[in-house]
Amino acid sequence: MADTDRWGAMALLAATLVLLGAWPVWRMVETVPTDAYAQAPELFIQGAETYAAAHKIGERDGMPLVQPPPGSEIPVIARRFEFWPALELQAGQSYRIHVASTDTVHTVVVDGREYSLIPGQVRVVEVTPASKKTIVIQCGEYCGLGHNRMRGTVTIAESMH
Protein backbone atom coordinates (compact mmCIF):
# COMPACT_ATOMS: atom_id res chain seq x y z
CA MET A 1 0.00 0.00 0.00
CA ALA A 2 2.82 2.37 0.98
CA ASP A 3 4.63 1.52 -2.25
CA THR A 4 1.52 2.16 -4.32
CA ASP A 5 1.15 5.50 -2.55
CA ARG A 6 4.78 6.43 -3.25
CA TRP A 7 4.51 5.48 -6.93
CA GLY A 8 1.19 7.32 -7.22
CA ALA A 9 2.74 10.49 -5.78
CA MET A 10 5.76 10.25 -8.08
CA ALA A 11 3.60 9.66 -11.17
CA LEU A 12 1.40 12.63 -10.32
CA LEU A 13 4.37 14.93 -9.78
CA ALA A 14 6.07 13.71 -12.98
CA ALA A 15 2.88 14.34 -14.99
CA THR A 16 2.65 17.81 -13.41
CA LEU A 17 6.21 18.66 -14.42
CA VAL A 18 5.48 17.57 -18.02
CA LEU A 19 2.33 19.71 -18.08
CA LEU A 20 4.21 22.66 -16.57
CA GLY A 21 6.83 22.34 -19.28
CA ALA A 22 4.17 22.08 -21.99
CA TRP A 23 2.25 25.14 -20.77
CA PRO A 24 4.30 27.70 -22.79
CA VAL A 25 3.84 25.61 -25.96
CA TRP A 26 0.27 26.89 -26.39
CA ARG A 27 1.61 30.08 -27.94
CA MET A 28 3.16 28.23 -30.86
CA VAL A 29 -0.03 26.26 -31.42
CA GLU A 30 -2.47 29.13 -31.05
CA THR A 31 -0.64 31.93 -32.85
CA VAL A 32 -2.54 32.79 -36.01
CA PRO A 33 -0.89 35.14 -38.49
CA THR A 34 -3.16 38.00 -39.51
CA ASP A 35 -2.53 41.18 -41.46
CA ALA A 36 -2.62 44.40 -39.51
CA TYR A 37 -1.94 48.04 -40.37
CA ALA A 38 -2.23 51.42 -38.67
CA GLN A 39 -5.05 53.86 -39.39
CA ALA A 40 -6.56 56.71 -37.35
CA PRO A 41 -9.97 55.71 -35.92
CA GLU A 42 -11.73 58.77 -37.43
CA LEU A 43 -10.51 57.87 -40.92
CA PHE A 44 -11.55 54.26 -40.46
CA ILE A 45 -15.07 55.29 -39.33
CA GLN A 46 -15.38 57.55 -42.38
CA GLY A 47 -14.35 54.74 -44.72
CA ALA A 48 -16.70 52.22 -43.07
CA GLU A 49 -19.67 54.59 -43.27
CA THR A 50 -19.04 55.29 -46.95
CA TYR A 51 -18.73 51.57 -47.68
CA ALA A 52 -21.91 50.74 -45.74
CA ALA A 53 -23.88 53.42 -47.59
CA ALA A 54 -22.71 52.04 -50.94
CA HIS A 55 -23.64 48.39 -50.24
CA LYS A 56 -26.63 48.72 -47.90
CA ILE A 57 -29.54 46.38 -48.67
CA GLY A 58 -31.67 47.03 -45.57
CA GLU A 59 -31.64 47.37 -41.79
CA ARG A 60 -31.06 44.83 -39.00
CA ASP A 61 -30.93 45.41 -35.23
CA GLY A 62 -30.94 49.17 -35.76
CA MET A 63 -27.92 49.22 -38.08
CA PRO A 64 -27.43 49.00 -41.85
CA LEU A 65 -27.42 45.50 -43.34
CA VAL A 66 -24.61 45.41 -45.90
CA GLN A 67 -24.11 42.88 -48.70
CA PRO A 68 -20.53 43.22 -49.96
CA PRO A 69 -19.51 41.90 -53.41
CA PRO A 70 -17.76 38.49 -53.23
CA GLY A 71 -14.01 38.74 -52.73
CA SER A 72 -14.21 42.29 -51.41
CA GLU A 73 -12.46 44.10 -48.56
CA ILE A 74 -15.07 44.96 -45.88
CA PRO A 75 -14.51 47.57 -43.16
CA VAL A 76 -16.22 46.73 -39.82
CA ILE A 77 -16.18 49.01 -36.78
CA ALA A 78 -15.83 47.43 -33.31
CA ARG A 79 -17.07 49.75 -30.57
CA ARG A 80 -18.96 49.59 -27.27
CA PHE A 81 -21.10 47.40 -27.69
CA GLU A 82 -21.50 46.47 -31.37
CA PHE A 83 -19.82 45.33 -34.56
CA TRP A 84 -21.02 47.78 -37.25
CA PRO A 85 -22.53 47.26 -39.81
CA ALA A 86 -24.48 43.97 -40.01
CA LEU A 87 -23.26 41.77 -42.87
CA GLU A 88 -24.74 39.33 -45.31
CA LEU A 89 -22.13 37.23 -47.13
CA GLN A 90 -22.37 34.61 -49.84
CA ALA A 91 -21.58 30.97 -49.07
CA GLY A 92 -18.38 29.65 -50.64
CA GLN A 93 -16.96 33.11 -51.42
CA SER A 94 -13.86 34.60 -49.74
CA TYR A 95 -13.87 37.99 -48.04
CA ARG A 96 -11.30 40.07 -46.17
CA ILE A 97 -12.87 41.77 -43.17
CA HIS A 98 -10.93 44.84 -41.99
CA VAL A 99 -12.00 45.28 -38.37
CA ALA A 100 -10.84 48.07 -36.08
CA SER A 101 -11.76 49.35 -32.63
CA THR A 102 -12.63 53.03 -32.49
CA ASP A 103 -12.93 53.48 -28.70
CA THR A 104 -11.18 51.02 -26.34
CA VAL A 105 -9.44 47.64 -26.49
CA HIS A 106 -11.73 44.89 -27.78
CA THR A 107 -11.08 41.54 -29.40
CA VAL A 108 -12.98 39.84 -32.17
CA VAL A 109 -13.72 36.12 -31.95
CA VAL A 110 -14.52 34.48 -35.28
CA ASP A 111 -14.89 30.70 -35.60
CA GLY A 112 -13.24 30.13 -32.21
CA ARG A 113 -10.18 32.24 -33.07
CA GLU A 114 -9.53 35.52 -31.28
CA TYR A 115 -7.78 38.63 -32.59
CA SER A 116 -6.95 41.71 -30.49
CA LEU A 117 -8.32 45.08 -31.58
CA ILE A 118 -6.37 48.10 -30.37
CA PRO A 119 -7.58 51.59 -31.37
CA GLY A 120 -5.47 52.90 -34.25
CA GLN A 121 -4.75 49.41 -35.62
CA VAL A 122 -6.80 47.62 -38.28
CA ARG A 123 -6.90 43.80 -38.23
CA VAL A 124 -7.61 41.87 -41.44
CA VAL A 125 -9.44 38.57 -41.01
CA GLU A 126 -10.11 36.32 -44.00
CA VAL A 127 -13.37 34.38 -44.02
CA THR A 128 -14.83 31.92 -46.48
CA PRO A 129 -18.30 31.15 -45.11
CA ALA A 130 -19.59 27.65 -45.54
CA SER A 131 -23.19 26.97 -46.38
CA LYS A 132 -24.72 27.61 -42.99
CA LYS A 133 -27.18 30.18 -41.76
CA THR A 134 -25.03 32.51 -39.63
CA ILE A 135 -21.54 33.25 -38.31
CA VAL A 136 -21.40 34.85 -34.84
CA ILE A 137 -18.64 37.37 -34.22
CA GLN A 138 -18.18 38.59 -30.68
CA CYS A 139 -15.92 40.53 -28.36
CA GLY A 140 -13.79 38.39 -26.05
CA GLU A 141 -12.24 41.17 -23.94
CA TYR A 142 -14.28 42.75 -21.13
CA CYS A 143 -15.04 46.27 -22.34
CA GLY A 144 -17.85 47.53 -20.09
CA LEU A 145 -21.27 46.63 -18.72
CA GLY A 146 -22.61 45.82 -22.20
CA HIS A 147 -19.68 43.54 -23.11
CA ASN A 148 -21.78 40.37 -23.26
CA ARG A 149 -24.12 42.06 -25.76
CA MET A 150 -21.23 42.86 -28.12
CA ARG A 151 -22.06 40.18 -30.67
CA GLY A 152 -22.61 40.53 -34.38
CA THR A 153 -24.40 38.08 -36.59
CA VAL A 154 -23.23 37.58 -40.18
CA THR A 155 -25.92 35.90 -42.24
CA ILE A 156 -24.85 33.62 -45.06
CA ALA A 157 -26.85 33.66 -48.28
CA GLU A 158 -26.80 30.79 -50.75
CA SER A 159 -27.17 33.09 -53.73
CA MET A 160 -26.94 36.84 -54.37
CA HIS A 161 -30.07 39.00 -54.11
Binding site: R6, L19, W26, E114, C139, E141, Y142, G144, L145, H147
Partner: protein
Protein backbone atom coordinates in the same frame (compact mmCIF):
# COMPACT_ATOMS: atom_id res chain seq x y z
CA UNK B 1 9.30 20.44 14.86
CA UNK B 2 6.25 18.90 13.20
CA UNK B 3 2.79 19.99 14.27
CA UNK B 4 0.04 17.56 13.35
CA UNK B 5 -3.48 18.84 13.03
CA UNK B 6 -5.87 17.19 15.47
CA UNK B 7 -9.54 17.26 14.61
CA UNK B 8 -11.16 16.82 18.02
CA UNK B 9 -12.55 19.54 20.26
CA UNK B 10 -9.51 19.52 22.57
CA UNK B 11 -7.19 20.36 19.69
CA UNK B 12 -7.51 24.13 19.88
CA UNK B 13 -6.84 26.43 22.81
CA UNK B 14 -9.22 29.27 23.65
CA UNK B 15 -7.52 32.02 21.57
CA UNK B 16 -7.38 29.66 18.57
CA UNK B 17 -11.07 28.88 18.95
CA UNK B 18 -11.83 32.61 19.18
CA UNK B 19 -9.90 33.27 15.97
CA UNK B 20 -11.49 30.35 14.15
CA UNK B 21 -14.93 31.57 15.23
CA UNK B 22 -14.03 35.05 13.98
CA UNK B 23 -13.10 33.81 10.50
CA UNK B 24 -16.23 31.65 10.33
CA UNK B 25 -18.41 34.58 11.39
CA UNK B 26 -16.81 36.62 8.58
CA UNK B 27 -17.38 33.79 6.08
CA UNK B 28 -21.01 33.21 7.06
CA UNK B 29 -21.61 36.94 7.52
CA UNK B 30 -20.38 37.46 3.93
CA UNK B 31 -22.93 34.94 2.68
CA UNK B 32 -25.66 36.65 4.71
CA UNK B 33 -24.75 40.05 3.24
CA UNK B 34 -24.62 38.53 -0.25
CA UNK B 35 -28.08 37.06 0.31
CA UNK B 36 -29.50 40.39 1.47
CA UNK B 37 -27.97 42.07 -1.59
CA UNK B 38 -29.51 39.41 -3.84
CA UNK B 39 -32.90 40.29 -2.38
CA UNK B 40 -32.28 44.00 -3.03
CA UNK B 41 -31.14 43.14 -6.58
CA UNK B 42 -34.43 41.39 -7.22
CA UNK B 43 -36.34 44.36 -5.79
CA UNK B 44 -34.32 46.81 -7.89
CA UNK B 45 -35.74 45.12 -11.02
CA UNK B 46 -39.31 44.77 -9.76
CA UNK B 47 -41.67 47.43 -11.14
CA UNK B 48 -43.00 49.53 -8.27
CA UNK B 49 -40.47 48.35 -5.68
CA UNK B 50 -37.57 49.91 -7.59
CA UNK B 51 -39.08 53.38 -7.09
CA UNK B 52 -38.84 53.33 -3.32
CA UNK B 53 -35.32 51.90 -3.10
CA UNK B 54 -33.00 54.75 -2.06
CA UNK B 55 -30.35 53.86 -4.64
CA UNK B 56 -32.39 54.04 -7.84
CA UNK B 57 -32.47 51.66 -10.81
CA UNK B 58 -28.68 51.69 -11.36
CA UNK B 59 -28.29 49.81 -8.06
CA UNK B 60 -28.61 46.57 -10.01
CA UNK B 61 -25.06 46.50 -11.35
CA UNK B 62 -23.49 47.95 -8.19
CA UNK B 63 -25.33 45.50 -5.95
CA UNK B 64 -24.42 42.67 -8.30
CA UNK B 65 -20.71 43.50 -8.04
CA UNK B 66 -20.74 43.45 -4.24
CA UNK B 67 -23.00 40.38 -4.15
CA UNK B 68 -20.41 38.48 -6.22
CA UNK B 69 -17.48 39.71 -4.12
CA UNK B 70 -19.19 38.73 -0.84
CA UNK B 71 -20.62 35.39 -1.98
CA UNK B 72 -17.50 34.32 -3.82
CA UNK B 73 -14.30 36.09 -2.76
CA UNK B 74 -14.92 36.96 0.89
CA UNK B 75 -16.68 33.68 1.71
CA UNK B 76 -13.91 31.55 0.21
CA UNK B 77 -11.01 33.68 1.47
CA UNK B 78 -12.49 33.78 5.00
CA UNK B 79 -12.81 29.98 4.88
CA UNK B 80 -9.13 29.82 3.95
CA UNK B 81 -8.43 32.18 6.87
CA UNK B 82 -10.36 29.82 9.16
CA UNK B 83 -8.35 26.81 7.99
CA UNK B 84 -5.03 28.61 8.56
CA UNK B 85 -5.86 28.63 12.30
CA UNK B 86 -5.48 24.85 12.26
CA UNK B 87 -1.97 24.97 10.79
CA UNK B 88 -0.63 28.12 12.50
CA UNK B 89 2.39 28.02 14.80
CA UNK B 90 1.36 28.37 18.45
CA UNK B 91 3.19 31.67 18.93
CA UNK B 92 1.48 33.38 15.95
CA UNK B 93 -2.06 33.90 17.26
CA UNK B 94 -1.61 37.69 17.33
CA UNK B 95 -0.80 37.73 13.62
CA UNK B 96 -3.99 35.78 12.95
CA UNK B 97 -6.10 38.31 14.81
CA UNK B 98 -4.45 41.21 12.95
CA UNK B 99 -5.21 39.40 9.67
CA UNK B 100 -8.79 38.80 10.71
CA UNK B 101 -9.18 42.46 11.72
CA UNK B 102 -7.83 43.62 8.36
CA UNK B 103 -10.20 41.28 6.51
CA UNK B 104 -13.20 42.55 8.52
CA UNK B 105 -12.25 46.20 7.90
CA UNK B 106 -11.74 45.39 4.21
CA UNK B 107 -15.19 43.81 3.97
CA UNK B 108 -16.79 46.86 5.63
CA UNK B 109 -14.96 49.15 3.18
CA UNK B 110 -16.36 47.11 0.28
CA UNK B 111 -19.88 47.54 1.59
CA UNK B 112 -19.67 51.29 2.19
CA UNK B 113 -19.57 52.50 -1.47
CA UNK B 114 -22.23 49.92 -2.39
CA UNK B 115 -24.73 51.17 0.18
CA UNK B 116 -23.92 54.84 -0.47
CA UNK B 117 -24.42 54.30 -4.21
CA UNK B 118 -20.90 55.55 -5.02
CA UNK B 119 -18.65 54.50 -7.89
CA UNK B 120 -19.36 52.97 -11.27
CA UNK B 121 -19.81 49.21 -11.54
CA UNK B 122 -17.30 47.16 -13.52
CA UNK B 123 -18.34 43.55 -14.16
CA UNK B 124 -14.84 42.42 -15.08
CA UNK B 125 -13.92 38.76 -14.55
CA UNK B 126 -13.08 37.15 -11.19
CA UNK B 127 -13.10 40.25 -8.94
CA UNK B 128 -15.72 42.71 -10.19
CA UNK B 129 -15.38 46.16 -8.63
CA UNK B 130 -16.99 49.50 -7.99
CA UNK B 131 -14.64 52.16 -9.34
CA UNK B 132 -14.15 53.99 -6.04
CA UNK B 133 -10.99 54.38 -3.89
CA UNK B 134 -12.67 52.79 -0.86
CA UNK B 135 -13.49 49.67 -2.88
CA UNK B 136 -9.90 49.12 -4.00
CA UNK B 137 -8.72 49.86 -0.43
CA UNK B 138 -11.22 47.30 0.88
CA UNK B 139 -9.94 44.65 -1.52
CA UNK B 140 -6.37 45.49 -0.50
CA UNK B 141 -7.19 45.11 3.23
CA UNK B 142 -9.02 41.83 2.58
CA UNK B 143 -6.11 40.42 0.57
CA UNK B 144 -3.52 41.63 3.11
CA UNK B 145 -5.52 40.18 6.02
CA UNK B 146 -5.96 36.71 4.55
CA UNK B 147 -2.42 36.84 3.16
CA UNK B 148 -1.03 37.56 6.63
CA UNK B 149 -3.01 34.71 8.19
CA UNK B 150 -1.83 32.37 5.42
CA UNK B 151 1.83 33.46 5.54
CA UNK B 152 2.19 32.56 9.23
CA UNK B 153 1.48 28.90 8.47
CA UNK B 154 4.71 28.79 6.45
CA UNK B 155 6.86 29.63 9.46
CA UNK B 156 7.01 26.04 10.68
CA UNK B 157 6.47 22.53 9.33
CA UNK B 158 2.92 21.32 9.79
CA UNK B 159 2.65 17.56 9.53
CA UNK B 160 -0.07 15.45 7.96
CA UNK B 161 -1.92 15.85 4.68
CA UNK B 162 -4.18 18.61 6.02
CA UNK B 163 -1.26 20.64 7.37
CA UNK B 164 0.60 20.29 4.07
CA UNK B 165 -2.56 21.19 2.13
CA UNK B 166 -3.11 24.37 4.14
CA UNK B 167 0.50 25.39 3.64
CA UNK B 168 0.37 24.81 -0.12
CA UNK B 169 -2.86 26.83 -0.20
CA UNK B 170 -1.01 29.61 1.60
CA UNK B 171 1.70 29.50 -1.08
CA UNK B 172 -0.89 29.66 -3.87
CA UNK B 173 -2.73 32.54 -2.20
CA UNK B 174 0.48 34.55 -1.78
CA UNK B 175 1.25 33.90 -5.45
CA UNK B 176 -2.20 35.23 -6.41
CA UNK B 177 -1.62 38.36 -4.31
CA UNK B 178 1.79 38.82 -5.97
CA UNK B 179 0.07 38.64 -9.38
CA UNK B 180 -2.32 41.44 -8.36
CA UNK B 181 0.62 43.60 -7.23
CA UNK B 182 2.63 42.89 -10.41
CA UNK B 183 -0.40 43.75 -12.56
CA UNK B 184 -0.95 47.03 -10.67
CA UNK B 185 2.69 47.93 -11.23
CA UNK B 186 2.71 46.98 -14.93
CA UNK B 187 -0.54 48.57 -16.15
CA UNK B 188 0.26 51.99 -17.61
CA UNK B 189 -1.45 55.14 -16.30
CA UNK B 190 -4.29 56.30 -18.54
CA UNK B 191 -5.46 52.78 -19.43
CA UNK B 192 -9.21 52.60 -20.08
CA UNK B 193 -10.83 51.78 -16.71
CA UNK B 194 -12.68 48.66 -17.90
CA UNK B 195 -9.54 47.27 -19.51
CA UNK B 196 -7.54 48.19 -16.40
CA UNK B 197 -9.89 46.33 -14.04
CA UNK B 198 -9.99 43.29 -16.29
CA UNK B 199 -6.23 43.00 -16.46
CA UNK B 200 -5.63 44.00 -12.81
CA UNK B 201 -7.65 41.02 -11.59
CA UNK B 202 -7.13 38.58 -14.48
CA UNK B 203 -3.91 36.80 -13.49
CA UNK B 204 -4.43 36.75 -9.72
CA UNK B 205 -8.07 35.82 -10.29
CA UNK B 206 -6.95 32.71 -12.17
CA UNK B 207 -4.55 31.74 -9.40
CA UNK B 208 -7.38 32.16 -6.86
CA UNK B 209 -9.20 29.40 -8.75
CA UNK B 210 -6.23 27.17 -7.94
CA UNK B 211 -6.70 28.10 -4.27
CA UNK B 212 -10.44 27.34 -4.50
CA UNK B 213 -9.69 23.93 -6.02
CA UNK B 214 -7.35 23.23 -3.12
CA UNK B 215 -10.12 24.18 -0.67
CA UNK B 216 -12.35 21.64 -2.41
CA UNK B 217 -9.69 18.94 -2.30
CA UNK B 218 -8.93 19.55 1.37
CA UNK B 219 -12.66 19.21 2.04
CA UNK B 220 -12.76 15.90 0.13
CA UNK B 221 -9.70 14.49 1.87
CA UNK B 222 -10.79 15.42 5.41
CA UNK B 223 -14.48 14.53 4.95
CA UNK B 224 -13.56 11.17 3.42
CA UNK B 225 -11.43 10.47 6.48
CA UNK B 226 -14.43 11.38 8.66
CA UNK B 227 -17.12 9.56 6.71
CA UNK B 228 -15.21 6.57 5.34
CA UNK B 229 -12.30 6.21 7.74
CA UNK B 230 -9.86 6.76 4.88
CA UNK B 231 -8.79 9.82 2.88
CA UNK B 232 -9.86 10.23 -0.74
CA UNK B 233 -6.22 9.52 -1.66
CA UNK B 234 -3.43 7.88 0.34
CA UNK B 235 -1.26 10.45 2.16
CA UNK B 236 1.69 10.85 -0.22
CA UNK B 237 -0.45 10.95 -3.36
CA UNK B 238 -2.74 13.49 -1.69
CA UNK B 239 0.26 15.66 -0.80
CA UNK B 240 1.52 15.36 -4.40
CA UNK B 241 -1.88 16.55 -5.66
CA UNK B 242 -1.64 19.70 -3.51
CA UNK B 243 2.00 20.24 -4.48
CA UNK B 244 1.07 19.95 -8.17
CA UNK B 245 -1.42 22.79 -7.88
CA UNK B 246 0.99 24.91 -5.85
CA UNK B 247 3.66 24.49 -8.56
CA UNK B 248 1.38 25.99 -11.21
CA UNK B 249 0.36 28.79 -8.84
CA UNK B 250 4.03 29.57 -8.22
CA UNK B 251 4.75 29.70 -11.97
CA UNK B 252 1.95 32.21 -12.60
CA UNK B 253 3.84 35.44 -11.70
CA UNK B 254 6.41 34.59 -14.42
CA UNK B 255 3.78 35.57 -17.01
CA UNK B 256 4.19 39.20 -15.91
CA UNK B 257 7.91 39.03 -16.68
CA UNK B 258 7.39 37.62 -20.19
CA UNK B 259 4.19 39.08 -21.65
CA UNK B 260 2.65 42.56 -21.96
CA UNK B 261 0.02 42.85 -19.21
CA UNK B 262 -2.46 44.45 -21.64
CA UNK B 263 -1.85 42.04 -24.54
CA UNK B 264 -3.98 39.18 -25.78
CA UNK B 265 -1.16 36.67 -25.19
CA UNK B 266 -1.08 37.63 -21.50
CA UNK B 267 -4.77 36.93 -21.19
CA UNK B 268 -4.52 33.62 -22.99
CA UNK B 269 -1.48 32.55 -20.93
CA UNK B 270 -3.62 32.47 -17.79
CA UNK B 271 -6.49 30.67 -19.51
CA UNK B 272 -3.95 28.07 -20.62
CA UNK B 273 -2.43 27.93 -17.13
CA UNK B 274 -5.75 26.61 -15.87
CA UNK B 275 -6.10 24.23 -18.84
CA UNK B 276 -2.69 22.69 -18.17
CA UNK B 277 -2.49 22.96 -14.40
CA UNK B 278 -5.94 22.70 -12.88
CA UNK B 279 -7.66 19.51 -14.08
CA UNK B 280 -5.27 16.68 -13.15
CA UNK B 281 -5.08 16.90 -9.31
CA UNK B 282 -8.87 17.15 -8.66
CA UNK B 283 -9.44 14.53 -11.36
CA UNK B 284 -7.10 12.09 -9.57
CA UNK B 285 -8.55 12.92 -6.16
CA UNK B 286 -12.13 12.79 -7.48
CA UNK B 287 -11.45 9.34 -8.93
CA UNK B 288 -9.95 8.26 -5.59
CA UNK B 289 -12.96 9.61 -3.75
CA UNK B 290 -15.42 7.89 -6.09
CA UNK B 291 -13.55 4.62 -5.58
CA UNK B 292 -13.65 5.01 -1.78
CA UNK B 293 -17.38 5.81 -1.89
CA UNK B 294 -18.08 2.72 -3.98
CA UNK B 295 -15.87 0.56 -1.75
CA UNK B 296 -17.29 1.71 1.58
CA UNK B 297 -20.87 2.43 0.55
CA UNK B 298 -22.62 5.71 1.29
CA UNK B 299 -24.32 6.41 4.60
CA UNK B 300 -26.92 8.91 3.40
CA UNK B 301 -27.63 10.01 7.00
CA UNK B 302 -24.08 11.27 7.46
CA UNK B 303 -23.65 14.98 6.59
CA UNK B 304 -20.00 14.34 5.68
CA UNK B 305 -20.94 11.55 3.23
CA UNK B 306 -23.76 13.64 1.78
CA UNK B 307 -21.40 16.57 1.30
CA UNK B 308 -18.88 14.31 -0.42
CA UNK B 309 -21.31 12.73 -2.87
CA UNK B 310 -23.04 15.97 -3.84
CA UNK B 311 -19.79 17.95 -4.02
CA UNK B 312 -18.25 15.32 -6.28
CA UNK B 313 -21.32 15.18 -8.56
CA UNK B 314 -21.73 18.96 -8.91
CA UNK B 315 -18.01 19.59 -9.36
CA UNK B 316 -17.75 16.79 -11.95
CA UNK B 317 -20.56 18.38 -13.96
CA UNK B 318 -18.74 21.73 -13.85
CA UNK B 319 -15.43 20.11 -14.78
CA UNK B 320 -16.96 18.27 -17.74
CA UNK B 321 -18.63 21.50 -18.92
CA UNK B 322 -15.25 23.26 -18.60
CA UNK B 323 -13.62 20.80 -21.00
CA UNK B 324 -16.25 21.63 -23.62
CA UNK B 325 -15.69 25.41 -23.49
CA UNK B 326 -14.26 27.49 -26.31
CA UNK B 327 -13.35 31.20 -26.55
CA UNK B 328 -16.10 33.59 -25.32
CA UNK B 329 -18.38 30.57 -24.87
CA UNK B 330 -21.98 31.15 -23.77
CA UNK B 331 -21.88 27.88 -21.78
CA UNK B 332 -19.26 29.34 -19.40
CA UNK B 333 -21.80 30.13 -16.59
CA UNK B 334 -22.69 26.42 -16.34
CA UNK B 335 -19.02 25.62 -15.75
CA UNK B 336 -18.37 28.16 -13.01
CA UNK B 337 -21.70 27.80 -11.23
CA UNK B 338 -21.15 24.04 -10.95
CA UNK B 339 -17.51 24.10 -9.88
CA UNK B 340 -18.21 26.82 -7.30
CA UNK B 341 -21.20 24.76 -6.14
CA UNK B 342 -18.91 21.76 -5.70
CA UNK B 343 -16.41 23.80 -3.67
CA UNK B 344 -19.22 25.28 -1.54
CA UNK B 345 -20.67 21.84 -0.78
CA UNK B 346 -17.27 20.58 0.38
CA UNK B 347 -16.86 23.64 2.61
CA UNK B 348 -20.39 23.26 4.00
CA UNK B 349 -19.45 19.68 4.85
CA UNK B 350 -16.22 20.81 6.55
CA UNK B 351 -18.14 23.33 8.65
CA UNK B 352 -20.77 20.83 9.78
CA UNK B 353 -18.57 17.78 10.26
CA UNK B 354 -15.32 19.33 11.46
CA UNK B 355 -15.23 23.05 12.28
CA UNK B 356 -18.40 23.41 14.38
CA UNK B 357 -17.43 20.38 16.53
CA UNK B 358 -13.94 21.92 16.93
CA UNK B 359 -15.69 25.01 18.30
CA UNK B 360 -17.76 22.79 20.61
CA UNK B 361 -20.94 23.74 18.78
CA UNK B 362 -23.62 21.09 18.42
CA UNK B 363 -25.14 19.96 15.15
CA UNK B 364 -27.56 22.34 13.43
CA UNK B 365 -31.11 21.45 12.46
CA UNK B 366 -32.08 20.25 8.97
CA UNK B 367 -28.46 19.53 8.00
CA UNK B 368 -29.37 17.01 5.33
CA UNK B 369 -31.99 19.36 3.88
CA UNK B 370 -29.28 22.01 3.49
CA UNK B 371 -27.15 19.65 1.40
CA UNK B 372 -30.02 18.21 -0.63
CA UNK B 373 -31.51 21.59 -1.48
CA UNK B 374 -28.22 23.31 -2.25
CA UNK B 375 -26.68 20.33 -4.06
CA UNK B 376 -29.57 19.31 -6.29
CA UNK B 377 -30.52 22.96 -6.82
CA UNK B 378 -27.01 23.75 -8.08
CA UNK B 379 -27.08 20.69 -10.35
CA UNK B 380 -30.29 21.86 -11.99
CA UNK B 381 -29.08 25.48 -12.11
CA UNK B 382 -25.83 24.54 -13.86
CA UNK B 383 -27.51 22.09 -16.22
CA UNK B 384 -29.97 24.84 -17.22
CA UNK B 385 -27.09 27.23 -17.89
CA UNK B 386 -25.39 24.60 -20.07
CA UNK B 387 -28.49 24.10 -22.20
CA UNK B 388 -29.13 27.86 -22.39
CA UNK B 389 -25.51 28.43 -23.43
CA UNK B 390 -25.81 25.70 -26.03
CA UNK B 391 -28.75 27.59 -27.50
CA UNK B 392 -26.67 30.82 -27.50
CA UNK B 393 -28.30 32.80 -24.66
CA UNK B 394 -25.82 35.62 -23.89
CA UNK B 395 -24.04 35.62 -20.52
CA UNK B 396 -24.88 38.05 -17.70
CA UNK B 397 -27.96 39.43 -19.41
CA UNK B 398 -31.55 39.67 -18.25
CA UNK B 399 -34.99 40.50 -19.60
CA UNK B 400 -35.34 41.24 -23.32
CA UNK B 401 -31.52 41.19 -23.79
CA UNK B 402 -31.58 37.41 -23.31
CA UNK B 403 -33.54 36.94 -26.54
CA UNK B 404 -35.53 33.91 -25.31
CA UNK B 405 -37.11 33.29 -28.71
CA UNK B 406 -37.50 29.50 -28.59
CA UNK B 407 -39.14 26.92 -26.31
CA UNK B 408 -35.72 25.31 -25.75
CA UNK B 409 -34.23 28.56 -24.46
CA UNK B 410 -37.28 29.18 -22.25
CA UNK B 411 -37.11 25.70 -20.71
CA UNK B 412 -33.34 26.01 -20.17
CA UNK B 413 -33.62 29.40 -18.45
CA UNK B 414 -36.60 28.05 -16.49
CA UNK B 415 -34.32 25.30 -15.14
CA UNK B 416 -31.73 27.97 -14.29
CA UNK B 417 -34.36 29.89 -12.29
CA UNK B 418 -35.89 26.87 -10.56
CA UNK B 419 -32.53 25.30 -9.71
CA UNK B 420 -31.25 28.66 -8.45
CA UNK B 421 -34.29 29.13 -6.23
CA UNK B 422 -33.91 25.62 -4.73
CA UNK B 423 -30.19 26.18 -4.14
CA UNK B 424 -30.88 29.56 -2.50
CA UNK B 425 -33.31 27.85 -0.09
CA UNK B 426 -30.57 25.42 0.92
CA UNK B 427 -28.05 28.26 1.22
CA UNK B 428 -30.37 30.35 3.40
CA UNK B 429 -31.02 27.38 5.70
CA UNK B 430 -27.27 26.75 5.96
CA UNK B 431 -26.39 30.38 6.73
CA UNK B 432 -29.16 30.87 9.32
CA UNK B 433 -28.46 27.58 11.09
CA UNK B 434 -24.66 27.91 11.18
CA UNK B 435 -24.71 31.62 12.10
CA UNK B 436 -27.12 30.74 14.91
CA UNK B 437 -24.67 28.14 16.24
CA UNK B 438 -21.68 30.48 15.92
CA UNK B 439 -23.43 33.31 17.76
CA UNK B 440 -24.28 31.07 20.74
CA UNK B 441 -21.87 30.60 23.62
CA UNK B 442 -19.76 27.48 23.26
CA UNK B 443 -20.83 24.35 25.13
CA UNK B 444 -18.85 23.42 28.27
CA UNK B 445 -16.30 20.78 27.48
CA UNK B 446 -16.83 17.66 29.54
Amino acid sequence: MFMKIAWDSTALDKPARAELRGWLLLALGALAVAGALALLLALSRAPGAQDWLPWGADFFHKGLVTHVVFSFQIWLLAMLGALTVLAAPLGMRGVGFVGLGLAVVGSALLLAPTLSGSGEASLNNYVPVLVHPLYYLGLGCLGAGVGLAAARTLLHRAAGVAGFAIQTMAVALLSALLCFVLAAMAIPAGTDIDHLNERLFWGGGHVLQVVNTMLLMLGWQVLALRALGQGALPPLTAKAAFAALALFALAAPLVYLRLDVLGLAHRQAFTQLLWYGLPLPPLVMGAGLAWQLVRHGIDWRSPAALALVLSLAVFALGGAAGFALGVADTRTPSHYHAVIGGVNLALMGLIHAVLLPLLRRGATKWVRAQFHLYGFGQLLHALGFYLAGLAGVARKTAGAEQGLDSAFKLVAMGAVGLGGAIAVLGGVLFVIQVLGRLLRREACHG
